[in-house]
């Protein structure tokens, strides 16, 4: 790990001011991913700005019927919060399917959004990686890519976003609130993470110096019909090979609201709201509907050798998650 300066942010404005003068500085919340990446010399900030003294630790109901989760609320506190487990069981289940209890106790909501890929080439500073060192190449396409992406890839990068929590947030249609020297912004969840394109070094649309202040959940939480299905190499404490967060609202067997997102398949949680409108809304909640939807959602998927199995695993996982959501209520 390189030497670096350590400062506390005692307010959002002073934090933004400090960042404006330090191009290579980073914010730190829980640090469970950032500190690890610093040990590998993948992240080399010249300064860390500790956000933990900011008052961003509340989970609160909003006037519009939604719920606001402060950026510093730990993953554990979100998952077990009575408002979340009762109204957004999909989010609780996704969070508890990820990492270990120790990591969830430390990791924050904002930090979870900003965690980086676990692609082995990204972590290994002895080999090329366009995400870590732009322009050096991507050995993953012909190499160790069992866990990597099948959708939205580019010539430059086939990394996946590792979060479970973010897959549920995508399905729920959350909004990320951020603030910075240019003021406050609301970022729809679908626009927060980006596809790699020719700039795989950029994971999100967050600008340098901007701080995530909260993640806001909409009023509809799919509490009656949701499922998080995570397929992985071992039953606990492993990243997803494929995960699916599915939430439905049903009236007389017909779908009135839907949110379906996949993890483990792309550089960001994979959701297509337009296809949900066209192929789920107003349709009967049955296997025929799920099959038609998954075929459209996964059209264009392609493997890179080791991860070809995902082309068969993803469709059945989508169907299974939707079937569970429709018929088993909030069971995962």
């Amino acid at each position: 790990m390189n030497n670096f300066e350590y400062v506390h942010a005692d307010g959002l404005e002073s934090a933004a001011t400090f960042m404006a003068g330090h191009a290579e500085a980073k914010f730190i919340g829980g640090g469970t991913n950032l500190v690890d990446l610093m040990k590998y010399n993948v992240e080399k900030p010249t300064a860390l700005v500790d956000l933990n003294r900011l008052s961003l630790r509340e989970v609160e109901e909003m006037p519009d019927g939604g719920v606001r989760i402060g950026a510093l609320v730990t993953n554990s506190d979100v998952a077990y919060h009575s408002l979340i487990s009762a109204r957004y069981p999909l989010l609780s289940r996704a969070i508890l399917a990820g990492a270990s209890a120790q990591l969830r106790n430390k990791a924050t909501t904002g930090g979870n959004l900003l965690q980086r890929t676990r692609c082995v080439y990204f972590y290994d500073t002895a080999v090329p990686c366009n995400k870590r060192e732009p322009g050096t190449g991507c050995p993953a396409k012909e190499g160790v890519n069992r866990s990597l992406a099948i959708l939205g890839t580019s010539v430059a990068c086939i990394a996946t976003h590792p979060s479970d929590m973010c897959v549920a947030l995508a399905a729920l249609g959350a909004t990320v609130q951020v603030t910075g020297s240019k003021g406050d912004r609301s970022i729809p969840f679908a626009e927060f993470h980006r596809l790699p394109g020719d700039q795989p070094e950029i994971d999100t649309t967050l600008q340098h110096g901007e701080v995530v202040t909260s993640v806001d959940l909409p009023a509809i939480g799919f509490a009656g019909h949701s499922a998080y299905v995570k397929v992985r190499d071992r039953q606990s404490y492993a990243f997803a090979l494929i995960s699916v967060a599915a939430g439905l609202e049903l009236t007389d067997g017909l779908i009135t609201q839907a949110g379906v997102a996949l993890g483990g398949v792309a550089h960001k949680p994979w959701r297509n709201a337009q296809l949900e409108q066209e192929l789920l809304i107003g349709k009967p909640a049955n296997r025929d509907t799920w099959h038609i939807f998954q075929q459209a959602l996964l059209a264009g998927a392609h493997g890179f050798g080791e991860n070809d199995f995902k082309l068969k695993l993803a469709p059945v996982t989508v169907v299974r998650a939707l079937e569970q959501a429709a018929h088993e209520g909030a069971q995962a």
Partner: protein, 171 residues
């Protein structure tokens, strides 16, 4: 010789940090890149917490920070100004074991013992959290603690015994 102190003396990065460990207050100047685990082991000579992987994957470094179990290898010590840290040394002593330690002894819940301090701190933290109800819950919620010897059945038995007794694992 205190290696971290000697290499740190000339640095301008050091941050004053007051941290309570096992009931004793330590007022220290700490380099920002010092993990809580390295502070405990190298500077405070508390070597019960183990550096297994140093990347948050094995759980051997698990300690309780303000009663909450975390991986001390991924904590920067300077971020714990004012914190109250409990390590395996603070849970009990050779002559006065805590209930969780005693249960591990009674159930033969270790073989080489390397992961045991982390297993015990994690189990104590888990009981305090109060979300585990069944044996499957124990397995799931202790999955962040890896045991190379495979002593898992007896670890689960030790924790299950204490959970059934209604004790929290600390004295």
């Amino acid at each position: 010789m205190d290696l971290l102190t000697t290499t740190a003396q000339k640095s301008s990065f050091a941050v004053k940090t007051a941290i309570t460990v096992n009931g004793s207050l330590h007022e220290l100047e700490i380099e920002p890149w010092t993990s809580l685990l390295d502070l405990l082991r190298e500077r405070l000579q508390l070597t019960g917490s183990k550096k297994g992987c140093d990347h948050g994957q094995c759980g051997a470094c698990t300690v309780l920070v303000d009663g909450v179990r975390v991986n001390s290898c991924l904590c920067l010590a300077v971020m714990h100004d004012g914190a109250d840290v409990t390590t395996i040394e603070g849970l009990g002593s050779e002559t006065n074991l805590s209930p969780m330690q005693q249960s591990f002894v009674d159930h033969d819940a270790y073989q080489c013992g390397y992961c045991t301090p982390g297993q015990i701190c994690s189990a104590v933290g888990m009981l305090h959290e109060g979300h585990a109800k069944t044996e499957d819950d124990i397995r799931e919620q202790l999955s962040g603690n890896v045991c190379r010897c495979g002593a898992y059945p007896n670890i689960v038995a030790a924790v299950k015994h204490l959970m059934a007794s209604g004790q929290e694992g600390t004295r």
